[in-house]
Amino acid sequence: MSQFEDPSTPALSKRDLMSDQTIRWCPGCGDYSILSQVQTVFAELGIPKERFAVVSGIGCSSRFPYYMNTYGFHTIHGRAPAFATGLKLANPELSVWQITGDGDALSIGGNHFIHVLRRNVDIQLLLFNNRIYGLTKGQYSPTSEEGKKTKSTPMGSVDHPFEPCALALGAEATFVARTVDVFTTEQRDVLRAANDHRGTSFVEIWQNCNIFNDGAFADITDKKARAEKVIFVEHGQPLLFGTPEARKGLRLNARLALEVMDVNDANLSEVLVHDETNPVLGMLLSRMKPTMPVAMGVIHRVSRAIYEEGVHAQLKLAASKPGAGDLRKALLGSSSWTVAR
């Protein structure tokens, strides 16, 4: 929150953000990288440590608050957006970060997820998507691909998955971004952008579960394949990816769908320019087919009224009226009488 930046705040180091608790994620879990990036970014933001509140639900990712040396609340399954909303309403000056997973946010907590986005409460909502239930030991999740064989789907899942960024856009999100646990530099950029955005900042972080869904994102995290499989989007810039030898771009075809084109100096102008304010483009970028690259970075960002600011503006307006806050008057109501001696 840039408005809370205070030059007198002593600079924090990443170490200041580490709690004294032993981290109990599995060795090799993608959550370690995310914890490290979040601690690094928190230290840079110029926000005093006591102003951070990290709120989570239930699941592997939701143990996150215990490892942050800030205020933290490990709540109940799926309901963290509601806890975060109440906390932010009670104290809008806090920098509230919600940590959730694909099961927590999209399955048991689907209702709260869409409503916090619609209200545009000024929090950061980080969804660690590993496309599996980890803490309950390996059942399919609402983002698992069709046909996935897990303990609860021995013949393969017949459920169709959500695309979290598209769902967020459908829920009127004002900030939608995607990143990956191992893309550390890009992840930190996205976290900073999420912090700077005023309103609910939804960040989907693809995260490897090396125990129950190892390699779920290997095809894009593989260093060699990355250039051809990932497109980093940036507002106002052409949607380009590929290698210097094989430049590629995205264009809109006549069926209003995105398609990949080979790019050269002559046809560069045909490449679509990213407009993060256009929700239709955001939807197209969120839902690209497996034959297309995966969009990473800030997919959608618009400005809209913030929920808790609207609430507090009404309180302020009501309190400014003559006779406001007169308890005796409130108790007497509009019709009272006096019994005299």
């Binding site: 215990y66 933290g72 509601a82 906390l87 309190a319 009226k321 108790l331």
Partner: protein, 606 residues
């Protein structure tokens, strides 16, 4: 013509009609007028869950009963002396309650073939002799209202909608009520030409009753002698909202209400939403779970967190209640009980959530439970619940019910100096801070809110190590914490006044709790007036119980527990105190009739 004026000690009147006939409005206008005239009163609005059931059917009948008096009364009365019926369905559904020889004012225009069929009547009650035992006053309400408003150019439909004021005007004349407050209210509430039409209907009803020889006499109920002070008429939901507002004032904490609309609790949300000038935040959540979750989040942030609901909503909140118990955050949870299970009887009253309130959470998760006894008492119960929650740092369950939530009575408005401050001090000292350090007396943990430098800490639903609050799976620590959380509830006993038996000690002891106070107290009074030896205790705190409850139960000759469920309190008392308590239980979605309770007392006294 001058009719003789008869002075009555008390009157029970009931207005009944279609859901669209404005019976609730008519009843509440009669109530406000009566309150302003200084009578004691008690009301019982009774309406269907459907907003507009098919017109003219028994399913759509809506009623409002009012008992007003010149002495202290506790109930809206068992049976009315006066029934105002707007149509055949309303008549047939209510006539069995009218006292023999009672006055029946009936809108005859509706007693036509089509309407009789809708009411499932094969004969016309006005003609078949079934009303012979009553004083029937037939009135053509729509025609008379039309006559009074003819020059206003209203449609037939709009004219018809004024007829309840005509009926109200008649009853105002009959019981010597002042029309001024209602006339003033009409003018402030309705736009032209409807304001004028309603005013004329009311005045025409008055004149009609005065001019024609419909009634043989006229009545007056002199004011009751109430202690000096300022009074208003108040429903339980209004009193509860004001109690929460006052608790915010007493504790110095901003009030946060997280709620999802549900009958019969929604009015609390509506009332509190109007108090934005007091800094009250009302959050209409996406569901019941979000409502309590946001409330706990706000409490973590330092607000006085409250969530209000009814049975189905409380069931949904169970898991979050466990978290509030575990994280020892102060919130107030209000259950305005209604008939269950499932959707049950949404607009009817019941006391069947006692066990839900006491035990309705997984794990060992005890919670303090307090129950309000009358509409006005909801105010004090709310302030008490908030005081205990913040003093002991734990969630508190406050039970009311549909009967006292919608019913009303005159309420003595407290002076501000009577409201003792209950200031809450947040933890600010970093030195030696531990999130689960204990106050030696109350066992409360410190309330250290986010934003306080140096007190950064994490809380959550996993078992806590006492003191540090760190996650702990240690077996001995878990048992210690389970016992400690139970001990916290027990220690509230220090704040619960001992019970004083009303009436005879060591005789038959009648035990009640919550919204049945009025009926039970009246029945005990009646029994004692008949010379029976009976005592009464009414429980306010149900967890913990008052310290002397066991001694009183075991010292009684017999114990009779009256409640609107299947004997939930009786079961708890039998288990806790090994007392051979007799249960008198009723589950009809209605308050007790005094006469039924009296009969039970007589049986046990025989």
């Amino acid at each position: 013509m001058q009719r003789p004026l008869t002075i009555l000690d008390d009157v029970v009147i009931r207005f009944v009609g279609d859901s669209g006939d404005g019976m609730q409005l008519t009843g509440s206008q009669f109530t406000n007028t009566t309150a302003l005239q200084g009578n004691d009163l008690a009301t019982f609005p009774d309406f269907p869950a459907e907003i507009r059931a098919p017109a003219g059917t028994r399913a759509g009948v809506s009623g409002f009963q009012l008992h007003f008096s010149s002495h202290d009364i506790h109930t809206p009365g068992d049976a009315p002396q006066v029934l105002v019926a707007m149509n055949p369905a309303a008549l047939i559904a209510n006539i069995k309650d009218l006292r023999t020889g009672g006055l029946l004012i009936v809108n005859t225009e509706k007693f036509i073939e089509r309407e009789l069929v809708k009411a499932e009547l094969s004969t016309n009650p006005l003609e078949d002799g079934s009303l012979n035992g009553f004083q029937v006053v037939p009135v053509e309400l729509t025609k008379l209202t039309k006559g009074a408003t003819a020059d206003l150019g209203l449609s037939i439909k709009d004219t018809d909608r004024c007829k309840n004021f005509f009926a109200l005007g008649m009853t105002y004349w009959l019981f010597s009520r002042d029309t001024a407050p209602t006339l003033q209210w009409i003018r402030s509430k309705f736009k032209a030409p409807h304001d004028e039409a309603n005013v004329r209907a009311l005045e025409a009803g008055w004149s009609y009753a005065e001019t024609l020889e419909l009634f043989h006499e006229r009545y007056e109920v002199p004011p009751a002698s109430l202690p000096t002070g300022d009074y208003r008429n108040i429903t339980g939901n209004e009193a509860l909202a004001l109690g929460l507002l006052t608790a915010s004032h007493q504790t110095g904490l901003p009030l946060f209400l997280g709620a999802y609309p549900i009958t019969p609790a929604s009015d609390i949300l509506h009332y509190l939403a109007r108090f934005k000038d007091f800094g009250v935040i009302t959050f209409q959540a996406e569901d019941e779970i979000a409502a309590i979750s946001a409330t706990i989040g706000a409490a973590f942030g330092g607000a006085l967190g409250v969530t209000t609901s009814s049975g189905p909503g409380i069931a949904l909140k169970g898991e979050a209640l466990g978290l509030a118990v575990m994280t020892e955050l102060p919130i107030v949870v209000v259950d305005v009980q209604r008939g269950g299970p499932s959707t049950g009887l949404p607009t009817k009253t019941e006391q069947s959530d006692l066990l839900l309130a006491m035990y309705g959470r997984h794990g060992e998760a005890p919670m303090p439970v307090i129950a309000a006894s009358t509409p006005g008492d909801c105010f004090r119960a709310a302030t008490e619940a908030a005081r205990v929650a913040t003093k002991y740092m734990m969630p508190v369950m406050l039970l009311t019910d549909g009967y006292i939530a919608n019913g009303s009575e005159p309420w003595k408005v407290p002076d501000l100096h009577e409201l003792t401050p209950q200031p809450v001090v947040f933890e600010t000292k970093a030195e030696g801070f531990l999130p689960y350090r204990r106050d030696p007396t109350t066992l409360a943990r410190p309330w250290a809110i986010p934003g306080t430098p140096g007190l950064e800490h994490r809380i959550g639903g996993l078992e806590k190590q006492d003191g540090t609050g760190n996650v702990s799976y240690d077996p001995a620590n878990h048992e210690h914490m389970v016992r400690l959380r139970a001990d916290k509830v027990r220690r509230i006993e220090a704040d619960v006044p001992e019970l004083v038996v009303y009436g005879d000690v060591g005789a038959l002891l009648v035990v009640s709790w919550g919204g049945t106070f009025g009926s039970i107290r009246t029945a005990v009074d009646d029994a004692r007036a008949q010379g029976l030896r009976v005592g009464h205790i009414h429980l306010r705190w149900l967890n913990p119980f008052p310290a002397n409850l066991g001694a009183l139960l075991l010292g009684a000759e017999r114990v009779l527990v009256c409640e609107l469920n299947m004997g939930q309190l009786a079961g708890i008392l039998r288990a806790r105190f090994l007392v051979d308590a007799v249960s008198y239980a009723q589950v009809q979605g209605k308050p007790f009739r005094v006469s039924n309770v009296l009969a039970k007392i007589q049986t046990l006294s025989a």
